[in-house]
Amino acid sequence: MQKDFDELARLMRAANTGDDAAYARVLSLLAPRLRTVVSRGFRSYGYNTDEVEDVVQETLLTIHLKRQTWDSSQPLGPWLNAVARNKLIDHLRRRGHRQHVPIEDFENVLEAPSESVSVGAAIDGSNLLASLKPRERMIVEAISIEGRSSREVAEALEMSEGAVRVALHRALKSLAARYRSQ
């Protein structure tokens, strides 16, 4: 199991040095694990699991935006654990849950290969994209749903590639803020 985690850390380090494929891979490997962790957390509090995918996506977004707070000389597990726990607690709190959330075994679950549905099959419940500015939304949708590169999007929208990247980054940050204030 530890090996599995080391592999994630290796991919994450490769991503930090500019390997885009490694980065996409690490996020794809994390998604089903997060789904397992979050569903368990929800179930143990008797919440229905409609919103699991929301929390999974919010956690992935946070992992992305905060990835540089991981000290790459340290193991990845505790960092992932801290981020995922923060997001789950946050979500439960927003739903009015005040108690301490005992998810100490988080790390073990994160570490275990996934048991649940195929990656990304589920769709989030709340359509947060609708909250973005029209142009930002267009850019996010073109890149995520249509799978286009920022260069292609730049050509289509007659913008510079840099401007598309800036808009994408801003859009992702505002999505994260929307989640927090939901």
Binding site: A24, W79, N86, G120, L168, R180
Partner: protein, 212 residues
Amino acid sequence: MRTDDLIRALAEDRATPVVGPQRRVVLALAGGGAVTAALFFWLFGMRGDIASALSTWRFDFKLVTMAALFAAAMIATLRLGRPTANTANAVRPILLVVLLLLAGLAAELVLVPSGDWSARLFGKNRFICLAVIPLLSVAPLAAILTAMRESAPASPSLAGAFSGLLAGALAAILYASHCTDDSPLFVLAWYTIAIALVMAVGALAGRTMLRW
């Protein structure tokens, strides 16, 4: 949006170069520090007898302890910006500064007859000290907290408090070069209260600003 789609957007965003969160705090400190130093030299300036003051141990001690506090607060703030931060580990360097301050206090109590203690403790500038240190902390604290929003502190209020300590220590270094009350008794009492005020503001602001 499917999770797979989101991942595609995240991977595409990765190519955007980002300044690391720790470097951001350092840059913010430099920026906020420059603003507050300009304010300091405009409004107050160093004391007139700075050259002779530098040859007294009390004045030097005051500067050295505030510089040490600044360094320790810097380490603590940077460490507390991580979600996996170990509080005891992050805050430990501050203890060394406290020990240093207490050593200075002990020396002062030995050297000065007890009849003079209260004059030294209350000094002449205590209210100025209480006003100027928080005033000079405003710009660096705002800059540090803004930069810290890129971090992911395990405890937002604690990270805010130590951002306040960092800003307060910077302000205290500047103010120490202006103030003519050099006794460790004075420093330990009034600088501590002034900086604690800044820490409290930082903790309150951090609680909302540094949530992630």
